[in-house]
Amino acid sequence: MKKEKKMKLSLPEVELMNSGHMACQGCGATLAMRFALKALGQKVALCIPACCWSVIDGPFPYSSLDVPIFHCAFETAAVSASGVKAGLEMVGDKETTVVAWAGDGGTFDIGIQALSGVAERNDDIIYICYDNEAYMNTGIQRSSATPYGAWTTTTPVKHFKNRPKKDMEAIMAAHRIPYIATASIGYPEDLVKKVKKAKEIKGTKFLHIFAPCPPGWKSQPEDTIKLARMAVQNAIFPLYEIEWGEKYTLNIKLKEKKPINDYLKIQGRFRHLTKKEIVFIQEEVDKKWERLLLCVNGSK
C-alpha cells in the first residue's frame, strides 16, 4: 500500500444521520438530509410532514436521526416549526435552530399556505424543501414541482405534464424574507455553506434542495449525483441566493451552459419526448436562465 497521507474531507465529519434507514438505493433526499445535518449540528429540531422522510426515518419506536423530530401533518411543516420555535423559546431554549423539512408536494402544493403565513410573519425558522419533483412517497404522482414534459403515474406519457414547474423562489422572494437559496446534492460544499449561513440569519429562511429520485425518475441509482450536477450545469436548476427578495447572487457560474439532452436522456420519465418537445423545453430553460441573469445583474 502507498504511503499514508492525511485525508482532507470537504464536509464536516459530524454524522447525525445513521445507517439502517429506509431510503431506496441512491436516494437523493437522504443525501440532502445528511448534508444539511452536517451543517446544522446537534442543536436542531426538525418538523417533517408527510413525505419520503416520514418513511426514511424509520417506524415507531425507532428513528435514524440523532436529532429530535416532530412528524407533523402534511400541510403544516412551516407553521409546526413556528410553533416549536415559540414553545422552545417560552421554556427557555433560545438556541435551538428549528427546521421545517418537507418534500416538494408538502411545499409547492399542500403546505404553501402555512409557508406563506410563516414567511409573511418572518418567523425565525429554516424551511428546507428537498425537491424530487413529484409525490414519490405515494408512488410518483405529479406535483406542481414536476417539470414540463415529465411522466408520472398521474401524467401518463400520452398526457404528460404540460405546465411548467412552479417558480417557488419567485413566490418566496415576493414575501421579502431575509434569505432564499437553491442548493443541490451535486454540490454538497455549497449546500452546507448555505445551510450554515441560514442558521446565522434571524427570520424565515427558505432553502430549496434539488434531490433526484431513482425510482421516480426512472434513473439508475448510481446516477443520482450526476443528474443533480447536470441540472446545475444545464441551468435547469441553477444555484443562487436571494436576500430580502431583491439581491440575487449566482453561486455556480456557467462558462458554457450545457444542453439539456444528456440530462433528459438518462431519465425514463422523459423517454417519450419528441425532438420538438425537447426543443421547447430547451427554449423555456434558456428563457428562465436569461431572466435569472437579469435579476443577478440587476442586483449588482
Binding site: S54, D66, V67, H71, V79, G83, V84, A86, G87
Partner: protein
C-alpha cells in the same frame, strides 16, 4: 375581583390566569373578542406569552401542537368552520398526547352561513379524543379553562371549553376573576416528562405499524377513563380554593323529580327557570345539565335519573339519519340500567333559534301527554 365581562373575555381571562405560554389563533365570528383581548394582554405584557397570528385555524392548531410538544402551555380559540378546518389536527393533538386547551364558541355550520348558536360544530368532533366541557355561564367558562389546563396536563389529553354563540359569548355577566397567586397555587407550571428537545432527541409521531398502533390507542382510552374522577377531584379542589365546584354534571331539583329535562350549555339556565315555574304549577320537574360530554359521565347520569318517571333530552344539534347527540348518549348510558324508563328526544334551537322557558314548557307538555315517545325525533319550534 368581580368584573362584568362577556363570555369571550372569560375565555381570555382563563387563558391569562392559566399562564398560557403560546397562543396561536385566527379570527372568526363570534370568537374574535377572545383573541383581541389576548393580543392586548400579550402586547402590554400582562400575559407573558407568544401570540402567533396565523393565517388559518388549521395553522393555529398546528402551531399549538408544535409549541405543546416543546413543553409550553398552549391555548387557542375558534368556532364552527374554524373548528371544522382544524379537524385533522384535533386527532393529532390527542394522538400525540398534547394537552392543548381550546375555547370553542358553538356556532351553526354553513351552508347557509350562520353565526348563531348550535352544537353541531363541536359535537362533530366527538371522536377526536378531546375532552369537551359545555359551559352555562361566563363564570363557568373562566373557571373551566383553568381546570382544563390542570386535567389535560395530568392526562396528556387536550380539552375543549365550549360556550354558546352570543347567548354566552357576547353576553355580559358578573364574573369573579380569581387572584393570580391562588390560581398559580392551584395550577402549577406545565412540565412534561417527555418533550421535544435536542438534549434528548426523540422522533414524535412517526410511521406506526399494526404491531404498535393499537396499543397507543388503547393507552389513550385508558387515560381518558381516568378523566371523570380527575375532573371531580380537581373540581372539588377548585371549590375549596375559589368556592365554586366544577363537576361533570349540574343537578337542579332532580332528587324528587318525576320528569328530568336533560340539557347542555347555556340553555341549562333557561331550563332551571322553566323547572321552577313548572314546580309552581305542581309539576315535579328537574334539570340535569351535562357539562362534560367527553368523557361521557355514564355513572353519574345513571344515578341522577334514578327515581324519575320520564326523561326528556333536549338537543341543540342533530346527527343526520340518527338523533340528537346527547339523546343518543343518554340512551346508551341508561340501556340495561333503567328498567324501561321512557327517554324522549327533542331537537330545538338549531342555527340560533331562541330557546326560552316556554320551549321547555312545550317539551314538558309533550312528555306529560304520552307514556312513551311516538317519534324518533320530536321537533320543537319548526315552522313548517
Amino acid at each position: 375581583m368581580k368584573k362584568v365581562i362577556m363570555g369571550n373575555h372569560a375565555l381570555s381571562y382563563g387563558a391569562k390566569l392559566g399562564r398560557a405560554q403560546v397562543i396561536a389563533a385566527y379570527p372568526i365570528t363570534p370568537q374574535t373578542q377572545v383573541v383581541e383581548l389576548l393580543s392586548e394582554m400579550c402586547a402590554d405584557k400582562s400575559l407573558d406569552a407568544m401570540f402567533i397570528k396565523v393565517e388559518s385555524e388549521h395553522s393555529a392548531m398546528a402551531a399549538c401542537l408544535g409549541a405543546s410538544l416543546a413543553g409550553a402551555r398552549t391555548f387557542t380559540a375558534t368556532s364552527a368552520q374554524g373548528l371544522a378546518l382544524m379537524h385533522e389536527l384535533l386527532h393529532w393533538a390527542s394522538g400525540g398526547r398534547l394537552p392543548v386547551v381550546m375555547g370553542n364558541i358553538n356556532r351553526a355550520m354553513a351552508p347557509g352561513w350562520s353565526i348563531w348558536s348550535d352544537q353541531n360544530d363541536s359535537l362533530s368532533q366527538r371522536d377526536t379524543g378531546w375532552m369537551q366541557f359545555y359551559c352555562s355561564s361566563n363564570q363557568e367558562v373562566l373557571d373551566t379553562v383553568i381546570q382544563a389546563f390542570k386535567v389535560s396536563e395530568k392526562l396528556l389529553i387536550p380539552s375543549m371549553v365550549i360556550l354558546d354563540a352570543f347567548t354566552l359569548s357576547h353576553t355580559y355577566e358578573v364574573v369573579d376573576i380569581p387572584d393570580q397567586k391562588k390560581v398559580d397555587e392551584y395550577l402549577p407550571p406545565f412540565n412534561p416528562s417527555i418533550k421535544l428537545t435536542p438534549e434528548e432527541p426523540h422522533a414524535f409521531g412517526g410511521l406506526t405499524s399494526p404491531e404498535h398502533y393499537f396499543e397507543l390507542r388503547y393507552k389513550l382510552q385508558k387515560e381518558m377513563e381516568k378523566a371523570p374522577a380527575l375532573i371531580e377531584k380537581t373540581g372539588k379542589e377548585y371549590e375549596k380554593m375559589f368556592g365554586r365546584y366544577l363537576g361533570l354534571v349540574e343537578k337542579h331539583r332532580c332528587d324528587d323529580a318525576d320528569l328530568i329535562l336533560i340539557t347542555s350549555g347555556a340553555m341549562g339556565s333557561t331550563a332551571r327557570i322553566a323547572v321552577d315555574e313548572l314546580r309552581k304549577e305542581g309539576i315535579k320537574a328537574g334539570n340535569l345539565r351535562i357539562k362534560v360530554f367527553r368523557p361521557f359521565p355514564f355513572e353519574i347520569i345513571r344515578n341522577a335519573v334514578k327515581g324519575a318517571k320520564k326523561i326528556a333530552v333536549v338537543d341543540r344539534n342533530i346527527s343526520y339519519g340518527h338523533h340528537g347527540m346527547f339523546f343518543e348518549e343518554v340512551k346508551s348510558a341508561l340501556y340495561g340500567y333503567s328498567d324501561g324508563l321512557p327517554v324522549f328526544g327533542f331537537i330545538t334551537g338549531l342555527g340560533g333559534r331562541d330557546i326560552t322557558p316556554s320551549t321547555f314548557k312545550e317539551i314538558t307538555q309533550y312528555t306529560l301527554e304520552r307514556d312513551k315517545p311516538k317519534e324518533e325525533i320530536i321537533w320543537i319550534g319548526v315552522k313548517l
